[in-house]
Amino acid sequence: MTTTDGPRTVNRRKFMGYLLGGATVVAAADLGMFGRGATADAAPGELPTLPQPAEIADLSDLLTLAAAPTSQLITVTINDDGTASFALPRAEVGQGITTAAAMLIAEELDLPVDKVHVTLAPGRPELLFNQITGGSNTMHAMYTPIRVAAAIAKGALLQAAATLLGDSANKLTSHLGHIVAPDGRRVDYGKLSALAAKEQPEAVEVALKDENSHAVVGTPVNRIDALDAVTGAKQFATDLDVTAALPTMVCRAPTLNGTPKAVHNADRVREMPGVTHVATIPTGVAVRASTFGQCIDAVRTLEVSWNDGPVAGMSDEDALAGVRSAEAPIPALPVGETVSGDFTFWFRSNSAMDTNSAVADVRHGSAQIWASLKNPNVAQGLIAEALGIPQAAVTVNVVQGGGSFGRRLFSDPAIEAARISKAMGVPVKLMWHRADDARVGRTHPLATSRIRACYSGDTVLGLQQAHTSVETDFRHGLGDIITAKAADLPGGLGNLPFSQVIFQLTTILPYDFGAVGQSLAETDTRFNTSSMRNIYSPDVRTANELIVDQLAQRTGSDPLEFRLSHLRNGRLRSALETAAEKAEWGKELPEGMAQGIGVHVEYKGVTACIMEIDCRPETVGRKVRNAVTGPRVTKATMVIDCGKAINPRGIEAQMQGCVNDGIAMTLTSSLHLRDGHFQEASWDNYFYTRQWNTPPELEVVVLDSTEPPGGVGEAGVAAAAAAAACAYARATGTMPTEFPINHQTLSFDPKPHAPPVPQSPTDGLDHTY
């Protein structure tokens, strides 16, 4: 037997970098490289669709390209105890990038992963566009710079060892933190660190380790912060012990974004147990006390007159009517039979477990801030502006975040905490109450998506999609204060073009459907919005895939076969075939149960998801106290090709999370706007997936890939949301047109809006188990 498969071509291209001056080895990369665009391969016999903008260059390319010029400012340090340190200029919020970064450094340096310390860099404005954590871009942007910096450090250690051991560097090898000579003599990195240090910066050239010989990268590794997390030692913003930064909360208006007019009992509240300060700020009335419990008491006691917020009196239906009035006509299609759909996606919250929080110490003309921030340099600029002090007087420390889901792209709590600390003249530890976090915190904007597709026989001639949305706020720019300010031009003049670019850079319809057009129109800047574990994709793709199923049905095709015959992306075809096999597509199911498919292309990778849903009355009607049950996804299969998989265990975890997000978006979770404010004030009001909703069976497959590493954190949500919707449609025989499907039922009794936060119960000892 012969084989034509030779060894894979290995790119041994040399990279430039620097050894910086100092007492130990500090190495940096210098790069101008960026990823290439995805290629499109037409399905045979189908009407090809021209490559869409995002297939040529997508959001990942934009962010990676923007980050490249400052890559030389990313450094790896060898410490005299033999460990390596790296301050990652990104935010860790659960997505696992600190672990992946440690793995890359361990790989290149030949160190055990637990000898690599990865911390979060404080705000560094000199990094320009290279300190935004968004678009699931971290590994795409940093895969090469981190490795180059580590490889340069390793080279310096080898040179120093050569001098010490009296051997030439190319005869030396490394082994888990030691340089070893041919005769077996060895010296550890810690001892070499000072010897290898340079007095002056020195430019060096380096080759990276052959990717085929990676021993750490590509293997499943547990999170480097897991031990801290399971012992309670992992610190989030509200866990920090900053001297005199006492608990602080804000009393907010009964309408969204209302503002304080007058406080009537500030002196009385100042006299309450534990309370130290009361101060009025633009967003409400802040109180500071010895404990957060006493802050809650004070917030509930404050008597404040309010100016109505900009959406006072409005409901969901009013916001939807506004979006409807901004809808543009769907472009004309070739002649043929048509399928159409008109879908509504209600407001959905990206509130994380760790509510909006920040520690601020603003005194003597300078500010120290601690918060989980995905754009610390925008935060620095905005805080300086809010306080009227120079940007350089603001230090922004990035803290581990308890989730983000898009929310920490913005620095709302950091700015608010800075204003409060300045007004009170003391350090503060600001924490938003859950009720505020859900009601006032940012949301995924309400949107409609209208689709018209036409076909002849089993050929799809065209598909046009018009997506219309309440504005998605992108005023964080590209992570620097200049583009953030450009996005903040008055009247949405800066943000709307930004959203157009983001839409076009993230939207791909992966089928050969002839004349494909997808457009975005945005309107209404009055809500607090942001991306939400993806931006447009979960909604856009859910609408698409439901129409794909309609097309399959009209043309008498099986949903899987129809997709496979129209896909124009080879990687996605492989992923879908794997998913179909693992999920046993087409297996016999009782009436009221069905499978559904969702696929997606984004972040330099592809995902295919198949869900099995149970819509039988006995399941839908099952009771759980204070909960939404409804249809149950009984099995989910998620297949991802994200390019080279740096940490398969972390990728599996992210896909599991994406499955639960997709289920929530389609079946259970939304915000309800009534009389100018959102109603949800609790996790028993906002129905994110819970244990009684999560699939009892969940399988994730991470495909081997020779493509460069792509993004992971958000990659699976769109396919999951779409799969849940398509499964529901097939199980019930009715295509759903609004999401989540339960939005029209308010499944809880809303808590009051005044006082704005609920009191804590006192009967906890009656509920022990």
């Binding site: 897991a226 997390a229 012992t231 244990q691 022990t768």
Partner: protein, 164 residues
């Protein structure tokens, strides 16, 4: 103000605070025990789940004045000491924590101390009832995880149950 005395992780503490302040704030804001997390303050999210006299409870919903000097509060920080020395794992932790590490359950980690404390209490409860953890028991866990780590939580509880 008044003095409140109870036991935290094996150590008797006395705190000068009024009796209506909930135990969560006494632990976090006054004693610096930050393992139990705030997620709602109304006994819904369960991020603060800890143990009182060996049973799961939510300190956000208990006024500190209701505790007596002998009531023993155990937070995630004190969980390893609750396990017999020979049952602790390679990290010296409670078997449920070790199962959590082995399964790499954690993502952001914020809810996980509460999840682990709830899991330990669940296993103890079903054991007292002379049975093992069922799918219905797992479906009934109210602790929310916004990262969606539910699958690994379920696997880790089953694993931890066999280690306990």
């Amino acid at each position: 103000m008044s003095e409140q005395t109870f036991v935290v992780n094996g150590e008797r503490v006395t705190v000068d605070v009024s009796g209506d302040v909930r135990v969560l704030w006494v632990l976090r804001d006054l004693l610096g025990v930050t393992g139990p997390k705030y997620g709602c303050g109304i006994n819904v999210c369960k991020a603060c789940t800890s143990h009182i006299n060996g049973k799961a409870f939510n300190p956000c919903a208990v006024p500190v004045g209701e505790l007596s000097a002998d009531d023993e509060v155990t937070t995630i920080e004190g969980l390893p000491a609750q396990a017999a020395e020979e049952s602790r794992g390679q990290h010296g932790l409670h078997p449920m924590q070790e199962a959590w590490l082995e399964r790499d359950v954690v993502q952001c980690g914020y809810c996980q101390p509460g999840q682990i404390m709830a899991a330990v209490a669940l296993v103890r409860k079903v054991r007292d009832e002379g049975r093992t953890v069922t799918e219905a028991d797992l479906d009934g866990i109210r602790n929310i995880c916004r990262c969606g780590t539910y699958t690994r939580i379920r696997e880790a509880i089953r694993d931890g149950e066999t280690r306990m």
